[in-house]
C-alpha cells in the first residue's frame, strides 16, 4: 500500500480525474506555480495553462466564473487559497452556486468543487485560520466535506469531482504534510462516516484535524480502561446520522469535538439530532467541545489556548464516564 501526504493524495486524485474527464479544470491564484501550499505542483506542466488556470486575486470572479462555467458544461475546481478568503465570494457560493438548480426549477445543475483550506496553522491569526464548515451546512444545495487523512483526501476528492452538486471541500492546512497509507485509490462515497476505532463506553464524533486529537485521546483513555469509539464524520452535509445514532445506541454516551467555534458549530446539530432521535439510549449528558467564541490570535501561547486537544477531549470523556 503506497504512503503519501494529504496534499499529494489530493493532487493525485485531481490529476486522475482530469485525465479521465477533459471538462474538469482548476482555477485560482498562483495555481500555475503549484498553489500556495504546493497542492497543485507540477499540474500546469501536465495539463497546461488552459486547465490549471492562474487567476487574479479576484475571489468573487473566480467563484462567479466557476458558476457560469459549471452551468455551461464544465466542472471547475475552485481554489480559494484560505477558507477565510472565500468570504469575498459568498454571494457567488451561497446565492448563485447553491441556488441556481433550485430557483431555475432543475433546468441546470452546478457541478463545481470549491477547495477552502481551513484551520489553525503556524500562527496565521484571525484572517487565515478559521474553520467555517458549519456555515455551509446551513445552506441548502451545498455538500460539505472535511477530509482528515491522505486516504480520505484522495477518495473523497474523487467523489466530489464526480458530484453534480456544488461541493465545499475543506482541507485542513495543518494536515498537508501528514503521511498515510492510501489503499485502493477508489472513490469514497460522500456522506458516509468512518468508524476509526470501535469501543463500547462512549462515542467521540469528530472530523478534519480534530479527528487526530480524538484518536490520541482514545488511545490514552484505553490505557485507563475507557473504551472509546471514534467516528470521523468526513462529510458534514450530508452527515452520516445512521453511523452516529447506531454508535450512541451502543455506547450510551456522546462527545463531539471540533476545532471551529463551539457556539453554533456543527457539533450543536449533531447533539440536537442525537437528543431528538436517541435520547432514551443516553446514559450520561452529551458533551461538545469547540473553540471559545473569540477570533484566533497570533501569539502561539494564546493560539494554543483556543485549541481542542487530545487532553481536552480526554478530560471531557472522563467527565462523561463518571
Amino acid at each position: 500500500m503506497p504512503t503519501m501526504t494529504y496534499a499529494e493524495a489530493a493532487k493525485q486524485a485531481l490529476a486522475e480525474e482530469m485525465r479521465r474527464n477533459s471538462t474538469i479544470w482548476a482555477l485560482g491564484e498562483d495555481l500555475g506555480r503549484g498553489g500556495v501550499f504546493g497542492q497543485y505542483s507540477g499540474m500546469a506542466e501536465e495539463f497546461g495553462p488552459e486547465r490549471i488556470v492562474d487567476t487574479a486575486i479576484s475571489e468573487a470572479a473566480i467563484l462567479g466564473a466557476a458558476v457560469g462555467a459549471a452551468i455551461a458544461g464544465t466542472r471547475p475546481v475552485v481554489e480559494m487559497r484560505f477558507a477565510d478568503f472565500a468570504l469575498c465570494a459568498i454571494d457567488e457560493l451561497v446565492n448563485q452556486a447553491a441556488k441556481a438548480r433550485y430557483m431555475f426549477g432543475g433546468q441546470t445543475k452546478v457541478p463545481l468543487v470549491v477547495r477552502e483550506p481551513i484551520g489553525m496553522w503556524r500562527s496565521s491569526a484571525a484572517q487565515h485560520s478559521q474553520s467555517l464548515e458549519s456555515w455551509y451546512c446551513h445552506i441548502p444545495g451545498l455538500v460539505v466535506v472535511c477530509p482528515s487523512t491522505p486516504n480520505d483526501n484522495m477518495g473523497l476528492l474523487k467523489s466530489a469531482l464526480c458530484c453534480d452538486d456544488p461541493v465545499v471541500y475543506m482541507e485542513h492546512k495543518n494536515l498537508w504534510a501528514l503521511e498515510g497509507e492510501v489503499d485502493d485509490r477508489s472513490s469514497i462515497p460522500l456522506g458516509v462516516a468512518r468508524t476509526a476505532r470501535e469501543g463500547k463506553d462512549l462515542t467521540i464524533v469528530s472530523w478534519s484535524s480534530t479527528y487526530h486529537e480524538a484518536m490520541l485521546a482514545a488511545v490514552a483513555l484505553g490505557e485507563e480502561g475507557i473504551d472509546a469509539e471514534v467516528i470521523d464524520l468526513r462529510t458534514l452535509w450530508p452527515w452520516d446520522k445512521t453511523a452516529v445514532l447506531n454508535s450512541v445506541e451502543k455506547t450510551g454516551r456522546l462527545l463531539v469535538a471540533h476545532e471551529a467555534v463551539q457556539v453554533a458549530g456543527f457539533g450543536a446539530e449533531i447533539v440536537a439530532t442525537v437528543v431528538e432521535r436517541a435520547f432514551s439510549s443516553l446514559r450520561a449528558p452529551i458533551r461538545r467541545i469547540g473553540a471559545p467564541r473569540v477570533p484566533i490570535p497570533y501569539a502561539p501561547p494564546l493560539e494554543d489556548l483556543l485549541r481542542v486537544t487530545s487532553e481536552s477531549i480526554g478530560s471531557a470523556a472522563r467527565e462523561l464516564m463518571r
Partner: protein, 329 residues
C-alpha cells in the same frame, strides 16, 4: 449618410417590442389582481435594448440577465406562456413556479437566468464564456446588466476576467439612469460605465438605447469581433424606464415632467415613426400590437387557470447528495 433600412428586420423588432410591452402590461395587470405576489420589475420603455441586442444573438448563444429580465428572456426566444405561469407561481412555469419573475430563465433557448443580485450575472457570463472557450465551442455569451451594477465588484472583476482570458462576451449596460430608485449619477464617481470599462481594456460603444435602429446597428457591428475571439465588447445603451422600479413603486422620486418627456422618446413609438416614414402600412403595425396583446392576454388567462405546483416540487432539485427527500431530519 442615408442608410438603407432593412424593413423586414425592423418589422421583426417592432413585433418583438410590442410583445415585450404587452407581456409587461399583462404582468402589471396580474399584479393588480394580486396574482403576482412577489416583486416584478417591468421593462416598459427599455424594449429597444432587449430587442436590438437579443435579435442579434444566435439560438445557441447564451444570455444572463437581471431582475428586470422579462424583455431579455422573451427576446431570446422564451415562450411567454411558460413565463407568465412562472410569474404567477404555477405548474408549467419555466422553473415550475419556484423562481418567479426575478429568476426567470429558459435554458432551452440559452437564457441562463435573470439574477436577483445586482451585478451577479456579469462574472457568471464571463465564466460561461470561459467554458465555451475551453470546450472550443463557437457561441458567445451576452450579459445584460443595469447601470446600478457598475458600482459592484462583479462589474470590475467580471470585465477584467473577460479581458484577461480573451473571452467571447458582449456586455450590455442597460443604463436607465437609476440604481433602484436612486439616480445612479448621484452615487457614482467619475464618468461611469463606459470610462470604467475602457480603463479595463474593454472597447465600449455608447448608444441611444431608445433608438432601435441604432441599438440593432451597433449590436450587429460588434458581433463579428466577439465571435472571432477578439475578446469582449461593451455596449452602453442609454434608456429610461417609463414606469416604477417595481410594480409596487409609486415612482415619486422623479418629476412628472421628466417622465412625460421620456414618454415622447418611447422606443416603440420612435420605431413606428421610422417605419411609417418608410411607407410601412399602419395596419401592419397596428396588427402587431393587437396580436401581441392577444398573445399575452392568452398567456395570462392560461396562467390564471393553471394549477399550483404539486407540493413535492418544494423538495425537488435541491441537490443529489444530501437530497432533502432523504435527509428529512
Amino acid at each position: 449618410m442615408t442608410q438603407v433600412l432593412d424593413i423586414d428586420r425592423l418589422l421583426k423588432h417592432h413585433l418583438l417590442m410590442c410583445r415585450i410591452r404587452a407581456f409587461e402590461e399583462a404582468a402589471l395587470q396580474a399584479n393588480t389582481e394580486n396574482l403576482v405576489l412577489g416583486a416584478i420589475h417591468p421593462s416598459i420603455g427599455q424594449e429597444a435594448v432587449a430587442s436590438g441586442i437579443c435579435l442579434n444573438l444566435q439560438a445557441e448563444d447564451l444570455l444572463t440577465s437581471t431582475h428586470r429580465g422579462h424583455g431579455h428572456t422573451l427576446a431570446k426566444g422564451a415562450d411567454p406562456r411558460a413565463m407568465m405561469r412562472e410569474l404567477l407561481g404555477r405548474e408549467g412555469g419555466n422553473s415550475h413556479g419556484k423562481g418567479g419573475s426575478m429568476h426567470i430563465a429558459d435554458f432551452s433557448v440559452g437564457m441562463l437566468g435573470a439574477n436577483g443580485v445586482v451585478g451577479a450575472n456579469i462574472h457568471i457570463a464571463a465564466g460561461a464564456a470561459h467554458a465555451i472557450k475551453l470546450l472550443k465551442e463557437q457561441r458567445i455569451v451576452c450579459s445584460i446588466f443595469g447601470d446600478g451594477a457598475i458600482n459592484r465588484g462583479p462589474f470590475l472583476e467580471g470585465l477584467n476576467w473577460a479581458v484577461v482570458f480573451h473571452l467571447p462576451v458582449l456586455f450590455v449596460c442597460e443604463d436607465n439612469g437609476f440604481a433602484s430608485t436612486t439616480r445612479t449619477s448621484a452615487v457614482t464617481g467619475g464618468q461611469g460605465a463606459a470610462t470604467r470599462a475602457e480603463s479595463l481594456g474593454v472597447a465600449t460603444t455608447t448608444v441611444d438605447g431608445n433608438d432601435l435602429t441604432e441599438v440593432d446597428r451597433i449590436a450587429r457591428s460588434v458581433m463579428p469581433s466577439i465571435r472571432q475571439g477578439k475578446g469582449p465588447h461593451m455596449i452602453v445603451a442609454r434608456t429610461y424606464r417609463l414606469v416604477g422600479h417595481t410594480a409596487a413603486d409609486p415612482d415619486l422620486y422623479r418629476p412628472r415632467d421628466e417622465v412625460e418627456k421620456a414618454w415622447k422618446r418611447d422606443p416603440i413609438a420612435r420605431l413606428r415613426k421610422v417605419l411609417r416614414q418608410a411607407d410601412v402600412d399602419l395596419a401592419i403595425l397596428e396588427h402587431h400590437e393587437l396580436n401581441a396583446r392577444q398573445e399575452m392576454a392568452g398567456a395570462f388567462a392560461e396562467a390564471k387557470a393553471a394549477p399550483w405546483p404539486p407540493l413535492p416540487r418544494a423538495f425537488e432539485d435541491v441537490q443529489d447528495i444530501g437530497d432533502p427527500r432523504q435527509e428529512a431530519f
